[in-house]
């Protein structure tokens, strides 16, 4: 597929990284340095052009594209490029990235002529909501319209004999779920009946929503049922997160150091308790009961401040911390500092864009472990090599099947179950082999 990507920033680069192997990519950006960096790593065509200049986009070859992704950091440029692509490349699908949720609403009302609008704020808020809903998981994703939940879990030493040091075939695992991936020392381990799970392993579990809750209870019984949350930061992302948590009927406190920002959010979100302070005062955290909340979300723009505040919150007794990462390195730093969940707004945005950009049979995808592993939702072809093979004979090509969506029901298969053609499978694989697995299915 000929894909035209407008914007070579963090989101653009991620998309290029995920798509370059199987598609013919053209990337445009205003900054030559970014383009050079991409061209050095991947086999992609690059062109220096402004997203807002139709002439330059035409010269770069936008008219011949089958898919146009406008993913610069500027809403206006993306919208201009998206609607321009619509008029010069009539057959092409167009995906536009925006920061606010406003254009997603306008697009849903049918008043914006592009194929898809993805909002940073909406995707981030959704990712935070999912993390709050599954506090024991490092990462969660919903597949197949909510029928299937994918969880990334750390196995603590305290998890107990139901899980730890027990052979998989003997482990008492929640029903309606399957372990699709076992990562030890950053490597995927083979999953067999005699595999033992050790403390410190990281699991990728595919489960029904109900079983997902059971898994959380199994792994970290003390972290369930979040009712009180605090959000640090009331800028766009923090406000979007607070709004989405309020909609889930949680008790939401918001801490914002800027007076005008705090007042604005207090006006627009009466359900939240908004505090005007930097939140770095232990006395304040105690007085307002923030030390006792079940989840704290750090959504300030400065990752160093997020880390500082998160550490203080931990000292004051907050058990479950979710932090936004705005630079690629923050992910590792947060993890080292013991922050439970890291959400990279640009990563969740690129995942959502990629979901639309992928093979049309791929409904959805999620990335784990610094993009090294993936979970895909793929519809199988009749002539796939997987059809008619009992699951015990897997893995093939390093792919583990976590769930099968057949018609309206999600099946969490046993070793004897077989795939039928037309099944949707939720499959775990290494990112490097994702395209191969897609083809094989």
């Amino acid at each position: 597929v000929r894909i035209f990507i407008v914007g070579a920033g963090l989101v653009g680069a991620r998309i290029v990284g995920a798509l370059h192997a199987d598609h013919e990519l053209t990337v445009v950006d205003l900054e030559p340095a970014r383009l050079r960096a991409l061209a050095r790593r991947y086999d992609v065509a690059t062109a220096q052009a402004s997203a807002a200049s139709g002439r330059q986009l035409l010269n770069a070859g936008i008219a011949g594209a089958e898919l146009v992704i406008a993913c610069t950091s500027r809403d206006d440029a993306n919208l201009v490029a998206g609607s321009f692509a619509r008029s010069v490349a009539r057959e092409a699908k167009t995906i536009v990235r925006t920061s606010s949720a406003e254009y997603v609403e306008i697009w849903r009302e049918g008043r914006l002529d592009v194929d898809c609008v993805v909002s940073d704020q909406m995707e981030t808020a959704r990712a935070v909501s999912e993390a709050v809903g599954m506090p024991a998981a490092r990462h969660t994703d919903t597949f197949a319209d909510g029928r299937v939940q994918v969880l990334e879990l750390d196995v603590p030493a305290a998890a107990g004999a139901a899980l730890v040091n027990t052979k998989l075939r003997a482990a008492r695992l929640p029903g309606d779920s399957r372990i699709a991936g076992l990562i030890r020392d950053e490597r995927a381990m083979p999953l067999r009946g005699d595999t033992e799970i050790a403390a410190g392993d990281r699991l990728v579990v595919v489960a029904s929503p109900h079983a997902a809750v059971d898994w959380c209870r199994l792994v970290a019984p003390e972290k369930l049922a979040v009712r009180d949350v605090v959000v640090f930061g009331a800028r766009e992302l923090g406000a979007a997160i607070a709004r989405s948590l309020c909609e889930q009927q949680l008790v939401v406190r918001v801490v914002e150091p800027d007076e005008a920002r705090a007042a604005l959010l207090a006006e627009r979100l009466p359900a939240a308790r908004v505090f005007h302070t930097d939140g770095l005062d232990p006395e304040f955290l105690k007085r307002e009961g923030i030390a006792r909340v079940q989840a704290a979300i750090f959504a300030m723009r400065d990752d160093a401040r997020n880390l500082f505040a998160a550490t203080l919150a931990h000292l004051e007794g907050v058990a479950y911390r979710i932090a936004l990462a705005h630079t690629p390195i923050s992910d590792r730093i947060y993890e080292d500092a013991g922050i439970d969940v890291t959400i990279d707004p640009l990563l969740v945005t690129s995942e959502e864009i990629l979901r639309f950009a992928h093979d049309p049979r791929t409904r959805q995808m999620a990335m784990f472990e610094h993009d090294r592993f993936m979970v895909l939702d793929v519809t199988t072809r009749a002539d796939s090599e997987y059809v008619g093979v009992p699951l015990r004979e897997l893995p093939r090509r390093g792919a583990y099947i976590g769930a099968i969506v057949r018609g309206e029901t999600a099946i969490f298969p046993h070793a004897d179950d077989m795939l039928q053609s037309g099944d949707r499978v939720i499959v775990f694989t290494e990112a490097a082999r994702a395209a191969e697995v897609e083809r094989a299915l």
Binding site: A266, P270, R273, V274, H276
Partner: protein, 507 residues
């Protein structure tokens, strides 16, 4: 040239203001034709009314003719225009009493009081024996209240918000008429056009509701003339009556009907417009001020009825409930009628009524006083400050109907309440001082009633000024003070106070 030079020296366009005042009051002349017609029908002299009407119209026309620029006056002139206009209109209201040489109302000080009382929809009267007044004068008194009512709605919805008093946010920006750019005069015209129809329609409905029982043969009901007079004064929430015994002259059914009409007249007209004319009643019913207003009426009625009953007062059972409901509604809506001799009530009940003078009706109604919306905002502001002593970092806007109210508007509410109380205290002091020297013996509550009820445009007196007496018992200084209180209260004080500042007049 000299006029232009004078304009340059002053920061206020006085000539333009006078022009607008003239343009407004010239329309009031024909209003005197109504009592004149009644005078002819009852063989009473009609000339005082015709002369007064002619004088005001000619004066207004001359004022307009010899000045210019009325269309262009802005916010700054607005304070001068409404202050001056209300003073002149009050004088016009008293003119027929002077010209007719009425024995009860004929003295200029009394006539001005009665005129101000009418056009500010207060209803305090210096007439001790209303039944002895000529029919035409009784009609004129009722009519001044009705005309005052439409004026009150106009300044509340079109003028005061432009002068940044009361605040647009206290009303409803949508219903409050065109934007500030429209200028003062076009805003007034638009509001009169929009709410005038509603006001007339409600008045007709009130007349029918009051007169129908009599037409159907009910006893102790209002005849057509009485219904006409009381429909006018009830809609304007002024307490003038054609009867000496006020609404006490009529039966229970009529009394309950009057309670209902008073409650409607005390509601926000912008809201009534939305509910009745735009047919969005559910939206109007959600209004927080309206709900608080109805709650105040119910709770205060129950409390006063309880006090009267338990203290073994002159009324019992249903009589006490009806009497209390009537008097509470009369005070809260600042109407000023009475059905029973509340002078006989226990002190606790009288104290409750005295407090209710400071409550007032809804913003944008014909009623006066501090108004429910301001109390709501004040209560919420205080509530927030209490919460903030425990949670100093908490940010929480004060809202009315879900809309955040900005700090400037809240400050304006606080200032208004403080100034209101200060004016009340000063007024009480003057009345008490003069009455001690000159007047009849009053209990302390009598002075409070005189001052609070004129400032609130309620017109309820106590003791010698109460149900069996009149405000004629006060000395001239007190009478003039109360005239000023009515004037101040009607204009929400600040437009007049602004004129006293030198900075207002400077460029």
């Amino acid at each position: 040239v000299s006029a232009a030079a004078r304009r340059r020296r002053l920061g206020v366009d006085v000539v333009g203001s006078l022009n607008l005042v003239g343009a407004l009051i010239k329309y009031l002349g024909p209003a005197a034709l109504v009592p004149a017609a009644f005078a002819v029908a009852h063989s009473e002299p009609a000339w005082p009314f015709l002369a007064a009407g002619a004088i005001v119209s000619v004066f207004g026309l001359l004022l307009e003719r010899f000045t210019s620029g009325g269309e262009g006056v802005g916010v700054r002139e607005g304070y001068l225009v409404i202050s001056l206009a209300w003073l002149l209109i009050a004088a016009y209201g008293g003119l027929p009493y002077v010209l007719a040489g009425d024995p009860q109302l004929g003295r200029p000080v009394d006539a001005l009081f009665e005129g101000m009382s009418g056009f500010t929809t207060t209803g305090a009267s210096v007439a001790t024996a209303v039944d002895a007044l000529p029919v035409s004068i009784r009609v004129w008194r009722q009519e001044t209240i009705w005309l005052g009512g439409i004026g009150v709605v106009t300044i509340a919805l079109a003028v005061l918000p432009r002068l940044r008093i009361g605040g647009r946010s206290l009303l409803e920006s949508e219903a409050a008429g065109p934007g500030v750019e429209g200028g003062l005069s076009s805003g007034i015209k638009e509001t009169v056009r929009r709410f005038g129809v509603l006001y007339v329609g409600l008045s007709v409905a009130a007349f029918l509701a009051l007169a129908l029982p009599h037409w159907l043969g009910a006893r102790h009901a209002m005849n057509s003339f009485q219904a006409f007079g009381h429909a006018m004064s009830t809609m304007g929430t002024g307490g003038f009556s054609t009867e000496g015994a006020s609404i006490g002259a009529f039966g229970g059914l009529t009394q309950w009907t009057v309670i209902a009409i008073m409650a409607v007249a005390g509601s926000n007209f912008a809201l009534l417009y939305r509910g009745l004319v735009l047919r969005r009643p559910r939206e109007a019913a959600r209004d927080e001020e309206l709900r608080a207003y109805l709650a105040v009426l119910l709770l205060a009625s129950a409390a006063v009825a309880g006090i009267v009953t338990w203290s073994g007062g002159p009324q019992h059972g249903w009589e006490a409930i009806r009497g209390a409901a009537f008097e509470v509604t009369s005070v809260v809506t600042t109407t000023g009628y009475f059905t029973v001799d509340y002078d006989q009530w226990p002190t606790a009940a009288l104290m409750a009524l005295a407090l209710l003078f400071f409550v007032g009706s809804c913003a944008g109604s014909t009623g006066g006083s501090i108004k429910i919306a301001r109390h709501l905002l004040l209560a919420r502001l205080l509530g927030r400050e209490v919460v903030r002593t425990v949670h100093p970092e908490l940010v929480r806007p004060v809202r009315l109907n879900g809309v955040p109210i900005d700090q400037a508007a809240l400050l304006a509410v606080i200032s208004f309440v403080l100034i209101y109380v200060a004016v009340f205290v000063a007024g009480t002091a003057v009345i008490a001082l003069e009455s001690d020297v000159h007047g009849p013996a009053f209990g302390p509550l009598g002075f409070v009633y005189a001052s609070a009820s004129t400032l609130a445009n309620a017109g309820v007196g106590l003791g010698a000024a109460g149900t069996t007496g009149s405000f004629a018992v006060f000395g001239d200084i007190s009478t003039l003070t109360m005239t000023a209180l009515m004037w101040l209260g009607r204009l929400e004080i600040l437009p007049v106070v602004v004129l006293l500042r030198a900075s207002y007049w400077r460029v």
